[in-house]
């Protein structure tokens, strides 16, 4: 088959959506974009809304004069949460404005670098989980020794923390083997095509 013939077919009207199809596609795509925009707005509004509620509650407590003296660590944690939340959204906003002028090969390389960073984070998390459990056990034991926590409450606190860590560990492990590793292989395979 002559390649010029294939180029002719490629340039023919048969390879263009009709005017009617284009109009319908455009309408459908714009509806999809609207829906995505609404979803993105809602996803952003939920954490901001929840944080605002917590802040108002903390603010009212502080105004009544019974928060700063006793619960200042809680207020500090709230401040840290705000900083993290704003940081996450600011990074997302900056990523949208980032120039997309780099060659596709560089895009694939940076995606692979991101994937490697995510896998390293998982390894760090796995290494730190047992390290975190030891001081947690020490803290609960100390509270029990001081008589500030009963044995049953200490057991419940430990059980809750272990459950949360196990759930987080399980979720991250699933992501590691089902998402990150296949993605790494796919990106390496794509980059190998450039060699």
């Amino acid at each position: 088959m002559d390649f010029e013939r294939l180029e002719q077919v490629w340039r023919s009207e048969a390879n263009r959506p009709s005017e009617e199809q284009q109009a319908r596609l455009m309408e459908e795509l714009m509806t999809m974009l609207n829906a995505r925009r609404r979803t993105e707005f809602l996803l952003a509004a939920i954490p901001f809304g929840a944080m605002s509620v917590f802040t108002v509650v903390a603010g009212v407590a502080a105004y009544r004069g019974d928060a700063f003296a006793h619960d200042w660590p809680g207020l500090a944690m709230l401040g840290v949460c705000w900083v993290v939340l704003i940081g996450v959204f600011w990074n997302g906003f900056r990523a949208r404005r980032r120039p997309t002028g780099q060659p596709m090969r560089d895009t694939l390389e940076s995606l692979l670098a991101q994937n490697q960073a995510a896998r390293r984070n998982y390894m760090t998390f796995c290494a730190l989980t047992p390290v975190f459990l030891f001081p947690l056990w020490m803290a609960v034991d100390h509270l029990k020794d001081d008589g500030r926590m009963s044995a049953a409450a200490g057991f419940q606190a430990m059980a809750l923390c272990v459950f949360a860590l196990a759930a987080s560990y399980g979720w991250n492990t699933l992501r590691f083997y089902w998402v990150m590793k296949p993605e790494q292989r796919r990106l390496e395979h794509l980059l190998a095509e450039y060699e």
């Binding site: 088959m1 294939l6 959506p17 284009q22 319908r24 974009l33 120039p99 596709m104 990106l187 095509e193």
Partner: protein, 166 residues
């Protein structure tokens, strides 16, 4: 619809046929609509970074091909949607047009190529110059030329074999 949305629709309209061809070349029929949506979304997200010093066509090609190369088919999402209507939206009814079956064979042949080669062929068929293809992919111009010469022969053979029923 907002003014921003209308502006984007106007900006997108001339690139829709290119997105349509890219979706058909990178995905099998049931997934083409899903990919077309992803390509549109990628352009919508990337548009704020568009600098008027580069041609809009080049920018659209770059974003669309980047998105197509890194796209993963979503089996679950596809099952949740009605596929028949979407396929109808994507494939033009060629009726008695003799070009139709040959075009389908060409797309099928392109889809058998590895993703990067698929992108190179597609850009070449869309009339993008070698120098621009080289810049888009981060390859040398001579490398692009050599690859495309080989790919054209391969595509011709694939389409011919398909026509012969091999």
């Amino acid at each position: 619809m907002s003014r921003d949305h209308d502006n984007f629709a106007d900006w997108l309209a001339p690139h829709l046929p290119m997105l349509h061809r890219t979706a058909r070349a990178f995905a099998e029929a049931p997934d083409q609509h899903d990919l077309l949506q992803e390509l549109t979304l990628a352009l919508w997200r990337a548009r704020p970074s568009f600098r008027s010093e580069s041609a809009t066509g080049t920018f659209a090609h770059r974003v669309a091909h980047n998105a197509a190369l890194t796209w993963k088919r979503g089996e679950v999402r596809r099952r949740l949607r009605g596929v028949a209507v979407e396929t109808e939206l994507l494939v033009r009814d060629t009726g008695e047009d003799p070009q139709g079956p040959l075009l389908e064979r060409l797309y099928a042949a392109i889809r058998t190529l590895p993703p990067v080669e698929r992108s190179l062929v597609l850009l070449s068929l869309d009339g993008v110059p070698y120098a621009e293809i080289a810049r888009l992919h981060g390859l040398s111009e001579s490398n692009v030329g050599a690859r495309l010469t080989r790919l054209r022969q391969r595509l011709s053979t694939l389409v011919k074999e398909d026509a012969d029923g091999l």
